[in-house]
């Protein structure tokens, strides 16, 4: 009883802040919000047949997986570099966090300015130094726009990944590395047989959180490209905003929200089927 009493406030908050709004969202997704008329599953039919859902879903998956892979690789790499002792390491460890603490709006404005081919500095530097023949802005080309926003988001979130990985690296006993070297292990085998096993649990949690957070990112994509050019960066999060507020169809936008929630919920359930989370696993 004491246990129930202690968790009751939290459950109440979840009910009020999450469950009830979600139920209302399902209700809203069955209505024409202008007339109040009940339309049943009409919005869902539109979504899965005539609507842009599948394209946006594909882009969302590309966006999310691309971010996770790049952030993971870059974050681990940066953390391993910070393991070395060199002059100014502590200062660098602080400075690399700057991208993470800068607000999304500032990040977007800054990168739009940097990449601007007319008056942005990046292109002029690259052209002046002969790195590229002519100015280019990846955010303008539908073939490169999604990659461009992925890279910018990677720049933003890699410090967080690096920080978490770095913290875990500090807990790895030195003796294990010494033993590996004595066995003749090179750097890569050291990483695979000593470093990675200690990182895997943290990476599992980071992966779950990273997937959920990244999949839902709206602000940076919207501020950088507004889902363009020609829908090249129109992920599900952007599509919801576009349909609900630009197209002024809150019913359809809510339907997309409900589907997105179901997809992510199914992902979470599937994720927890991994061995690490089962009985007898690392996270039991």
């Amino acid at each position: 009883m004491v246990g129930i009493a202690l968790v009751a406030p939290a459950i109440l908050v979840i009910l009020i802040a999450l469950v009830l709004p979600f139920i209302d969202a399902i209700r809203a997704s069955t209505l024409n919000r202008v007339t109040g008329e009940f339309v049943g599953l009409e919005h869902y039919l539109w979504l899965f047949t005539d609507g842009p859902f599948w394209g946006s879903l594909r882009r969302s998956l590309l966006w999310t997986v691309g971010n996770l892979v790049l952030q993971g690789a870059a974050g681990i790499g940066v953390a391993l570099l910070l393991q070395w002792h060199f002059r100014g390491r502590d200062a660098i460890r602080t400075v690399i966090l700057l991208p993470f603490v800068v607000p999304s709006a500032v990040t977007a404005i800054t990168w739009r300015w940097l990449l601007n081919t007319t008056y942005g500095p990046l292109n002029s530097w690259l052209v002046d130094f002969g790195v590229i023949a002519g100015s280019f802005n990846p955010l303008n080309d539908p073939l490169t726009a999604l990659g461009g926003v992925v890279l910018i988001n990677t720049w933003r979130w890699t410090p967080l990944v690096a920080l978490v990985v770095f913290a875990v690296l500090q807990t790895i006993p030195r003796e294990e590395y010494e033993a590996a070297r004595m066995e003749g292990a090179g750097y890569l085998r050291e990483f695979w047989h000593v470093t990675y096993p200690h990182l895997s649990n943290s990476l599992a949690v980071l992966g779950l959180l990273g997937f959920l957070l990244t999949f839902n990112i709206f602000d940076l994509v919207w501020l950088l490209t507004a889902g363009g050019p020609v829908d090249a960066t129109n992920t599900l999060a952007v599509l919801i905003y576009d349909v609900a507020f630009a197209m002024r169809n809150i019913g359809r936008g809510t339907a997309i929200s409900v589907v997105l929630f179901v997809l992510l919920f199914a992902f979470v359930i599937g994720y927890f089927q991994q061995e690490e989370f089962k009985e007898g696993g690392q996270f039991e």
Binding site: N140, G228, M247
Partner: protein, 435 residues
């Protein structure tokens, strides 16, 4: 989940954002969407002046932004705590009138008209369905703003048609300099640019029957010209918004623009302060003079407080306030919609307005030919009511046509067909019988 918070609330009758009078002053609340800091400051300053002069009415201003106001207003109306009135635009006003949310303000407009001689072109976009649904507050019109030291020195300036305009622009394009700024982003800015050219070539979105009449030879000509003119513009405009547009002009990389004059306030501090002038939009042979304009209006939600709202609006339109308020809020951009305002010394004596007086006078000259989608001559003549203009504007579908043209490299004919089909589906309309 993200939208759940926006769809909550009870279906109550629209009530006031402020409280009723009782024994104290009448409380009013209004929203505006003028985000630039100096505009917000002026709205606050003049509202405070009104409050200081009126013990019986106290007004509170709440600044919003265009990106979020539709959802906020929709939610507020559902929850019963909408503002008493709101600064708006024609399409936005028609959208909420179609939802039955607005109060008829014919009497307020007639009072202002009789005292200050309001221009009919400013009132027309708000007169339909037997009422007047917006109180005109100021107008904004597109002009062709150009560099006198570059474009003005080309062999064909001022251009008498589109061919000459293209030629002049091409003469100054090169080495990172661009003859013009032709937007190609999915924004209202692009919509306004393409629609201005559509006005000039007698091209339409809506036909005389209110259905979609976009895929016409005239539209194909507009798109063809747009694609050619885009070659004289920075390729970055596929992702630009207002900020980048203004910056390119103020940094001197773009030598002309068809657009509003909002950037002139900052022009005075640049090396190009004395190098800009403006002409009416060049139009093709056989085409029409004109450009797009936006009459900013006040739409009223609270019938009970209509008299108090009218008092505030009439005060804003008064001789001592109106010209001064417009010039200080956004000099050269906000144009009076009454004769009183146009003759206001406070308006013309503002330093920026005074410095660029020829351009401002050119805007007044352009106003009689200025139009907006859904309110062109063929629509007014047929007394059409087209509430889908709100969705046309907010969806940026016209801008998407431009994106198809320049990003997806469709031919003008393909882009026109794509636009026709997309608009029919989006707006829920049939192809016009005039096609």
């Amino acid at each position: 989940m993200a939208l759940a918070g926006c769809t909550g609330g009870q279906d109550t009758d629209s009530d006031s954002g402020g409280s009723t009078g009782g024994s104290g002053p009448i409380q009013l609340t209004y929203w505006h969407q003028e985000a630039p800091p100096q505009r917000q400051a002026m709205f606050e300053e003049f509202t405070e002046r009104f409050n200081a002069e009126h013990d019986d009415i106290q007004v509170e201003v709440q600044g919003q932004n265009w990106g979020s106001v539709f959802s906020k207003l929709t939610s507020a109306l559902e929850a019963g705590n909408a503002p008493d009135f709101l600064f708006s635009l024609p399409a936005f006003t028609m959208d909420f009138q179609a939802r039955g949310e607005l109060v008829d303000v014919t009497d307020i407009v007639e009072d202002i008209n009789s005292e200050h001689d309001m221009y009919q072109s400013a009132i027309s976009p708000f007169q339909y369905q037997g009422g007047t649904w917006g109180i005109p507050m100021w107008d904004m019109v597109f002009l062709n703003h150009y560099r006198t030291d570059t474009l003005g020195q080309t062999s064909v300036w001022p251009p008498q048609n589109w061919d000459e305009w293209l030629q002049a622009s091409a003469e100054v394009t090169g080495d990172g300099q661009y003859g013009t700024v032709m937007p190609a982003s999915s924004t209202l800015w692009t919509t306004e640019n393409i629609y201005t050219l559509m006005i000039n070539n007698d091209s339409y979105v809506y036909g005389p029957d209110g259905n979609v009449m976009f895929d016409t030879p005239e539209t194909v000509e507009v798109l063809d010209f747009y694609k050619q003119m885009y070659e004289q513009s920075s390729p970055d405009t596929t992702s630009w918004s207002w900020g980048e547009w203004e910056t390119s002009i103020l940094r001197g990389t773009a030598h002309s623009t068809i657009g509003f004059s909002s950037w002139m306030r900052r022009l005075v501090d640049t090396e190009f302060a004395d190098d800009f002038s403006a002409i009416p939009q060049p139009y093709p042979e056989g085409g029409s003079a004109g450009s797009i304009h936006y009459v900013n209006d006040v739409m009223v939600f609270n019938e009970e407080k209509k008299d108090a709202i009218g008092t505030f609006i009439k005060w804003m339109h008064s001789e001592a306030i109106y010209g001064d308020w417009l010039a200080k809020t956004e000099p050269t951009l906000y144009l009076p919609v009454t004769k009183t305002g146009e003759e206001s010394e406070d308006f013309w004596n503002h330093p920026v307005v005074s410095q660029y007086e020829p351009s401002v006078r050119a805007q007044f000259e352009a106003l009689p030919d200025a139009r907006i989608y859904g309110f062109r001559d063929i629509h007014v003549e047929n007394d059409l009511y087209i509430p889908s203009v709100g969705l046309l504007e907010s969806s940026n579908v016209l801008a998407d046509v431009v994106q198809e043209l320049v990003v997806n490299d469709r031919t003008p004919a393909e882009a026109a067909t794509w636009g026709q089909e997309t608009m029919q589906e989006l707006l829920g309309l049939e192809p016009s019988s005039s096609l």
